[in-house]
């Protein structure tokens, strides 16, 4: 049970790391590609994916909290 909780915490960290890696790559790309085609690509595709990446970390945090509530309730009994 404690292993499940630790595993979920590790997944939450992994999601936030993955989002940071994506944002770092986007920032590096900003330095060398910033024309109309890039803006169009960002608007059409990239913005939604970046939002998905941000949301993944937030959602995992909520899932971890709910799962830990479940485990804590069990331990109280």
């Amino acid at each position: 049970m404690a292993d499940s909780s630790r595993h979920l915490r590790a997944l939450e960290h992994a999601a936030r790391d993955a989002q940071r890696v994506l944002e770092t790559s986007v920032s590096r790309a900003d330095e060398t590609w910033s024309d109309d085609a890039r803006r169009s690509f960002d608007a059409e595709y990239l913005a939604a994916i970046r939002a998905d990446a941000r949301r993944l970390g937030v959602e995992l945090g909520e899932i971890v909290a709910a799962a830990e509530n479940a485990l804590n309730a069990l331990q109280q009994g």
């Binding site: 049970m1 499940s4 909780s5 595993h7 979920l8 997944l11 992994a14 999601a15 993955a18 989002q19 890696v21 994506l22 790559s25 986007v26 590096r28 790309a29 330095e31 060398t32 590609w33 024309d35 109309d36 085609a37 890039r38 169009s40 690509f41 059409e44 595709y45 990239l46 939604a48 994916i49 998905d52 990446a53 949301r55 993944l56 959602e59 995992l60 909520e62 899932i63 709910a66 799962a67 509530n69 479940a70 485990l71 804590n72 309730a73 069990l74 109280q76 009994g77």
Partner: protein, 277 residues
């Protein structure tokens, strides 16, 4: 678009692919971990409910002295069962959220990332083609792709290749919709990409409008906007893009601003047109 932007495109391609792989793995593992917790909590609820039932069964036939102890035991068992049920509600909530997250990640990695990667790879292909095609020069005229308007590379009198990143039309903005004879924005995009990747290289290699018309006929493309012959006409026909040089050296676009705008959005850096002034 430059070689540097090619590196940026490659980096974005790699970053999106990696994120999609990692996110998919995270979603799968999260669902499995939450399911394992829910299974464990459900088992605890069943076990504790059985304990309550067993204590209740022992209370009924027992003597008053023993009943007091069993009643206390039943209170503890009921409290423990209620804790487990509370845990089950939290585990169910975690499962609901995990399911929702997995569905959204599935949608993102299967519906949003692949088109983005396709778009990036089309841009890379266009860049590779752009760098591989040799653009003929007129004596004294620089190559079109290099900055200044190029020579008569397409064999059409008066049409030269113009670097469109030098063109601005802020003083003459696009006001009307895309609608050349009913064509849509999507048709314009198709035409600009087809010009860049098929028709332009073909013309530079010596193909004529008749050659493209024959290709259309062989493919059954006899009418509609999405024909190679139509793309040829759009850029080298009777209504070419009209550029003129302003006093400050920038280029104005008198006719063909929709074509120029769509091409820029696709990362195309030069288009054929007629240069005035």
């Amino acid at each position: 678009m430059t070689r540097a932007s090619s590196q940026a495109i490659t980096e974005l391609d790699s970053a999106l692919s990696t994120w999609a792989t990692v996110a998919t793995g995270i979603a799968l593992q999260t669902t499995a971990a939450v399911n394992a917790i829910a299974t464990e909590v459900e088992r605890a609820v069943r076990e504790r409910a059985a304990i309550v039932a067993a204590v209740e069964a022992r209370i009924a036939p027992t003597q008053p002295a023993e009943r007091t102890r069993l009643t206390r035991e039943l209170q503890i068992a009921n409290g423990s069962l209620e804790d487990a049920r509370r845990g089950l509600r939290s585990a169910t909530e975690a499962g609901r959220r995990a399911h929702s997250m997995a569905r959204r990640i599935d949608e993102s990695t299967n519906s949003r990332v692949p088109p983005a990667l396709q778009s990036l790879r089309r841009k890379l292909d266009a860049l590779a083609e752009y760098e591989s095609v040799s653009v003929p020069n007129s004596p004294g005229s620089p190559r079109g792709a290099s900055g200044a308007p190029g020579g008569n590379a397409f064999g059409v009198q008066g049409i030269v290749e113009v670097p469109i990143d030098h063109a601005t039309f802020d003083d003459n903005p696009i006001l009307g919709p895309f609608g050349r004879g009913g064509a849509t924005l999507s048709d314009y995009r198709w035409a600009a990409e087809t010009w860049e990747t098929v028709v332009r290289p073909g013309v530079l290699a010596g193909k004529t409008r008749d050659d493209f018309a024959r290709q259309d006929a062989a493919a059954g493309r006899l009418t509609g906007y999405r024909r190679l012959g139509g793309v040829y006409d759009m850029f080298l026909g009777d209504e070419p893009i009209q550029f003129s040089r302003r006093a400050d050296g920038t280029l104005d676009v008198a006719n063909g601003r929709h074509r120029v705008q769509v091409a820029r959005q696709l990362g195309i850096t030069r288009l054929p047109g007629r240069m005035h002034g």
